[in-house]
């Protein structure tokens, strides 16, 4: 169910290089970081934070290539807002402005574009961000997949807020804001034409108001990550690696909704590796954990928030999970995408 990919060193780009797993990390480390190296980038956070004239600005960019364009619980337009807003929010920033670039494929129905743009505009309004500039390119039929969208976001990081994937410390509590795997399984079931008793719906949502509520409750939050591609396991592994700490989680504390569990069982996938678009993981000082958790549960996007584990000085760089029966196992980062197993 969690096939590792051999032959990582490769002369061609594989789909797995975009999976958010080890192959993606390889690409960043072997090609992008050496070319662009600077202290802001080196933090490898979801956003770059720079200080200009005393103001702490968070900047992030994200491209959206989802298929199908429309799915239960969202579409590529709303996703393009939520994804970028959340990358800003994970730095504790108040999102302010977005840029939007469209790459359209020749032959795309104008009504489709209008539907996507309307949804994007609505999501931006709901998040309280303005779209202040944009770009459009059209590629020949066959060179694109309908619509690709890139959004860049700018936000302001409040005084005193200092969040980073490298800032988790032993003793921190790990909080997860809700049930996992909904976005990925909604997309997959739509793509594969799978029907389940309970409909799967993407959790796509802007998380910045939840983050603001958490920071208002107690500022002793060290790390926030939204577990998108590669799921909860990839985010936890990134944090463990960048903070040089171990992370121990409890299988029984992780909420997976019935429909997601059913779909994962059927396809042989592990929900820990499935994408989310409206969830976050927080590494919080133990003394602040209860207050932060309570604040999350009062917010509609954190109603099901749960303490799922703790940060430890043991096994730095490694994530382990106490299984339902008691013994612990490693929660590894996947090399590429999860591939459905044979039987």
């Amino acid at each position: 169910m969690t096939c590792p990919a051999p032959l990582v060193t490769t002369d061609k780009i594989l789909l797995g290089h975009g999976s958010g797993g080890k192959l993606s990390a390889d690409l960043i480390e072997s090609i992008f970081l050496p070319a662009f190296r600077n202290p802001v980038l080196a933090r490898l956070d979801d956003q770059g934070v720079v200080t200009i004239n005393g103001a702490k600005l968070a900047v992030t960019t994200d491209s959206f290539v989802v298929k199908p364009l429309f799915f239960r619980g969202g579409d590529i337009g709303s996703l393009a807002v939520h994804g970028t807003v959340n990358d800003l929010a994970m730095g504790g920033a108040q999102p302010l402005y977005l840029t939007v670039a469209f790459i359209l494929e020749e032959g795309l129905p104008t009504t489709t574009l209008r539907r996507v743009v309307d949804s994007l505009a609505a999501a931006a309004r709901a998040a309280g961000v303005q779209i202040i500039t944009g770009d459009t390119k059209v590629v020949e039929k066959g060179s694109g997949d309908g619509i690709f969208i890139n959004t860049t976001g700018i936000g302001l990081v409040p005084e005193g807020v200092e969040l980073s994937a490298g800032a988790a410390r032993p003793g921190d509590r790990v909080i997860l804001s809700g049930s996992i795997g909904e976005h990925g399984m909604a997309i997959l079931s739509e793509r594969e034409g799978l029907e389940f008793e309970t409909a799967l719906e993407s959790d796509s949502a802007s998380l910045h108001t939840l983050v603001a509520a958490m920071l208002a409750a107690d500022g002793r939050i060290h790390t926030l990550r939204d577990p998108t591609r590669g799921g909860v396991s990839s985010s936890l592994n990134e944090i463990a690696k960048q903070s040089a700490v171990g992370i121990e989680i409890e299988e029984s504390a992780i909420l997976v909704r019935e429909a997601v569990r059913g779909a994962c069982e059927l396809l042989g996938l592990d929900p820990l590796y499935v994408a989310n678009e409206g969830k976050l993981i927080a590494m919080v000082d133990a003394a602040a954990a209860d207050a932060v958790l309570a604040a999350m549960r009062r917010h509609p996007l954190g109603r099901d928030a749960c303490m799922i584990g703790a940060v430890t000085a043991a096994h730095p760089g490694m994530v382990t999970m106490r299984t339902l029966l008691g013994p612990s196992r490693i929660v590894d980062m996947l090399a590429g995408d999860q591939l459905p197993r044979i039987c």
Partner: protein, 366 residues
């Protein structure tokens, strides 16, 4: 979730473990055949919860692991042809051949697609009459009926552009081979539940009797496996050797008659080479002559190539339960999922991958 939750229930598991503890008086060596079972054992740490006298060794039931390298090479050759759409279960895409794998063939422009069912390949063939569509039909008795159905469906529709690269393998001949090996240490087998759901377990009665070895058909959840281990130990402690069924919610003695009928119609039993183990007589399925026009090997006229396995890889012994993944000096050092020496480190059902993925932090030191 019904039929899942109660089989992952810690309380039920603890009660079964306590009962197992009480009835175990001597050391026993048990083997689970199926790679899916191996993964559950490692994932939940069941090997650390059972009495220390019970040793679990892992069997050859990983379809990806035992598919011969020559067949993988053929798949790569077929998939590289420009007019071909090559359709496969996801697992096979990452198995390296001598120079490349199917994922890389795809990246180089080959039309390689992942399917959840061989019927998708039939659908693709129907939609692309000008292309040749080839399905990679591998696996044990579990996947064989669906593959057989796909061939029947193609024939019914008169599809001329659909074919299958068939390399099916069968469990009972492999158990027989293990039991006849002078090096065999296994005293009881957990038979693969999914295979038996199709084939039934009547064949295992004969094996039990002939070799005086207990066999219990087991499921894939933690409680299933603990219960199956308990049933095996009970037999061993009482001096019995029978074929029993733990996985009653899915398996009957005679199995799925309809599926078996389809298998008989499309496939015939043949000698088959198993990767890491070698040739086992009468251990596989191939297409019957009347379905020759759907046989990709014949259509593409591919000769057998000889492909050498890395000498350091001990997968042959691992697949026969003679050694454990951690007995290999290359484990986790020169052999990792990112650069595997052998298939058991590649496949999602491979024993080496299970050890590496879930337990490499502890197993090395123990």
């Amino acid at each position: 979730m019904k039929h899942i939750d109660e089989y992952r229930d810690a309380k039920i598991a603890r009660a079964l473990l306590a009962a197992l503890e009480r009835k175990t008086t001597r050391p026993w060596v048990l083997m689970e055949i199926c790679g899916g079972q191996t993964h559950t054992l490692m994932r939940y740490g069941i090997d650390t919860l059972i009495p220390p006298q019970i040793e679990l060794v892992h069997g050859p039931g990983c379809p990806v692991c035992v598919t011969p390298l020559e067949v993988v090479e053929k798949a790569i050759q077929i998939a590289s042809q420009p007019d071909v759409i090559f359709v496969s279960y996801g697992d096979m895409l990452r198995v390296p051949g001598s120079a490349t794998d199917l994922l890389r063939v795809k990246a180089s422009g080959g039309d390689v697609r992942i399917a959840y069912s061989p019927m998708e390949a039939v659908k693709i063939a129907r939609a692309n009459p000008q292309r040749r569509v080839v399905f990679f039909g591998i696996g044990f008795e579990t996947t064989a009926p669906a593959n057989a159905m796909a061939v029947l469906q193609a024939k019914r529709e008169g599809l001329r552009n659909f074919s299958m690269l068939v390399s099916h393998v069968l469990v009972p001949p492999a158990i027989r081979l293990l039991l006849e090996s002078p090096a065999n240490r296994v005293q009881g087998f957990i038979a693969p539940g999914h295979v038996c759901a199709v084939m039934g377990y009547w064949e295992y009665h004969a094996l039990s009797e002939q070799y005086r070895v207990p066999i219990v058909v087991g499921g894939f959840e933690p409680v299933d496996l603990i219960e199956a281990i308990g049933m095996l130990v009970a037999q061993l402690e009482e001096g019995r050797a029978e074929a029993e069924n733990q996985y009653v919610r899915s398996v009957t003695l005679e199995g799925n008659r309809i599926a078996q009928k389809v298998l008989q119609e499309v496939f015939e039993v043949t000698d088959r080479k198993w990767r890491g183990i070698g040739a086992i007589p009468q251990s596989g399925f191939r297409l019957r002559p009347e379905f020759a026009e759907y046989d990709a090997e014949r259509i593409f006229g591919l000769a057998d190539t000889v492909v050498e396995e890395p000498a350091e890889c001990i997968s042959a012994q691992v697949l026969q339960g003679l050694k454990k993944p951690v007995d290999c000096p290359a484990f986790g050092v020169r052999c990792t999922p990112e650069s595997p020496l052998g298939a058991p480190m590649v496949s999602s059902e491979g024993a080496c991958a299970a050890y590496y993925q879930y337990r490499r932090d502890t197993v090395k030191s123990s």
